[in-house]
């Protein structure tokens, strides 16, 4: 008896090689025109955003070590996957992050000080998605947001806001999650509902190879992009450290979703160069050689090489470095000035409508605290 064939390979779509050459894989050829249509300032913006993201990462991790943040969630290594996909969305689209997509929020217009407000322990949320580029709140329960995104996409569809052929008003939903979250039931139920209702939606999996200390091989024995086909939607595996392909494939997928072609799934292969969070120690579970392997595939280095090759000046790169430093130090300054929340925040907005228990408990706490004021020291 022969063993059954166990070939779970998926083609990898890549435009930019790790050495920084524009050399599309055969599967990437159809996406090339989308990149060729990009103006220079957009190509420069990709670079700027990736460098800003990495600089904020360093500044924020430092703030955590100095006791100014409860936690920091690094995105070092994943800049290309995030920046490319975020720029692929149109203004009317809705983006549902997990909790590591800081630069995605910034690209949508979110002031990152609100992310630090959350990680500083001053709020449970931090921003209103309606006023911040339809960038929804971070969701800390893994994959829970995939269902919210799918329900939201159902709503867009019911509202007649997809599939009409109007590119300026048709909208889609882009939802981010990670390789670990793909094992959650909610991630799979979201694919079921999205496929069933043919939602205008793109599932964007950042496979950074590690769910804290557990390798992706524990989550899945086959490429995660194949999860799409099993649920009845296209799935594609891209080089997530190639910002151009991340942009192009997400752009194409969102355009198709807006046009009424239904949902699709993207697996972006990338690597979490740093710790899962500042509470983690990756030296305990992964080899230096693996980290070195991925360091050689750094998303910023390869893109910088390509930009330089097509004529970007040394002054441009210097300006970006200066700007990133300025953004990071300004962010740090403003984060340290964030006011502490007041005790009313415990009870305010737990309910939308008046609630007797919230009122009673706030009154009790106020009276209790007042009992200490003016009393003996």
């Amino acid at each position: 008896m022969t063993a059954r064939q166990r070939d779970f390979t998926a083609p990898r779509v890549r435009l930019l090689t790790p050495a920084g050459e524009l050399r599309p894989t055969p599967e990437a050829e159809p996406y090339l025109p989308l990149v060729e249509a990009l103006p220079d300032e957009m190509l420069e913006r990709f670079y700027r955003d990736m460098v800003v993201s990495r600089r904020i990462d360093i500044a924020s991790a430092n703030m955590q070590r100095q006791g100014q943040l409860a936690l920091w969630v690094p995105s070092h290594g994943q800049e290309a996957a995030q920046v490319g996909s975020a720029h692929a969305a149109r203004a009317q689209d809705h983006l549902f992050p997990s909790y590591r997509e800081h630069i995605v929020g910034m690209i949508r217009g979110l002031d990152p000080v609100h992310i630090l407000e959350l990680l500083r322990g001053a709020t449970l949320g931090g921003w209103n998605p309606d006023e911040n580029g339809n960038f929804h709140l971070y969701t800390l329960v893994l994959a829970a947001q995939t269902l919210h995104a799918t329900g939201y996409a159902m709503g867009l569809q019911f509202d007649g806001l997809s599939g009409t052929g109007e590119p300026e008003t048709d909208a889609a939903v882009l939802v981010y999650y990670g390789d670990g979250a793909t094992s959650q039931g909610d991630a799979n139920e979201a694919l079921v509902f999205a496929s069933s209702y043919q939602t205008p939606q793109v599932f964007f999996i950042q496979n950074n190879h590690w769910a804290i200390s557990v390798p992706v091989s524990r989550q899945s024995r086959s490429p995660l992009s194949l999860r799409g086909g099993g649920f009845g939607m296209p799935g594609v595996r891209i080089d997530g450290n190639d910002v151009l392909v991340s942009y192009a494939v997400t752009r194409q997928s969102l355009d198709e979703a807006r046009a009424g072609a239904g949902p699709s799934l993207i697996e972006a292969l990338t690597y979490r160069m740093g710790a899962h969070t500042t509470a983690d120690d990756p030296t305990k579970y992964r080899a230096d050689a693996e980290v070195q392997h991925w360091a050689e595939r750094d998303p910023i280095t390869r893109y910088r090489t390509w930009l330089a090759g097509r004529g970007a000046s040394a002054a441009f790169f210097d300006d970006v470095d200066t700007e990133a430093s300025d953004v990071a130090s300004d962010l740090r300054r403003r984060a340290l000035e964030l006011p502490a929340p007041t005790r009313e925040k415990i009870f305010a907005h737990v309910y939308s409508e008046p609630h007797p228990v919230m009122a009673e408990e706030l009154a009790w706490l106020e009276a209790y605290e007042a009992g200490f004021e003016g009393g003996p020291a």
Partner: protein, 361 residues
Amino acid sequence: MSARVGQEPQVTDAAASDGLDPSRAATARPVEHGLRGVQTLSMAKAINAGLREALRADDKVLLMGEDIGPLGGVFRVTEGLQAEFGEKRVLDTPLAESGIVGTAIGLAMRGYRPVVEIQFDGFIFPAFDQITTQLARVTVRHDGTLSMPVVIRVPYGGHIGSIEHHQESPEAYFAHTPGLRVVSPSSPHDAYWMIQEAIASNDPVLFFEPKSRYWPKGPVDQDHSGMPLHASRVIRHGTDVTVVGHGAMISTLLQAAEIAAGESISLEVVDLRTLSPIDYGPILDSVQRTGRLVVAQEAYGFVSIGSEIAATVAERAFYSLEAPVLRVSGFDAPFPPAALESEYLPSADRVLEAVDRALAF
């Protein structure tokens, strides 16, 4: 002690609509439509009528659930609604409770008012995470800029002789969670109004429907609610012992009160209607007059709605109490095989046993 439920008194649902207190009616949320008069309906039909009103009044109201379309739900509560309002208003969903509640949250973010049907009480737990860590917290996470007007309808409770996971009373899990509201009607009239008020609420509401009460008919005044959603009410006045319950337990308490009356014991029956928040006004007022309180529920007694009421009444009405607050509950063992349910579920007799103990104290 001998059983006293030899001859069953006729307890009609008319009793449950007698105690309307006009002074409390002023705060009822107005639901506008022409005068409809009083109809005699089962609770299932009353909820169906309430859902129809809500679907007509606001095109953002959606129904979602398993088998709720052409079949009308396993209890036929949504019968005819998909035919009337279409597949985009009444959605037969994939068979995944977390998926149903999770997508309902997304739809509410988009401005819809989803009304979710969980097919049976014991099947709500795949959605427990979405309900408690997401639905209950979306509004606070958004600093109040986003409401979550989602209703989750749950047929619950025993007395129907069904198999495992079909007769549970899980309401305390949800009452324990800040951010949720939890209610349970006991009569067709209340069910008709409370479902509409729950849908009109901008907060998430767990709506527990006592499934053994789906079929008995009662009067439904379709012109006057009589009560706001989060109000308890005295449905039978008495002087000796206050008995409190909700849902199907109300029928049992009225039956107990009828038997007790034959023994010259006067029970005051309070229908909680709202389990979170609990409306303590009518309970405390009653206890201050009777001095004795028995709390009855089908749910497990340990860490239950009854426990909470007992603790709070002890805190707030200690000097009015002539006896300890007593609880009559389902036993703290899994809901048994249906052949044993009559021994497991609190009966009028078990309520009266507690009443006797309270009076003897």
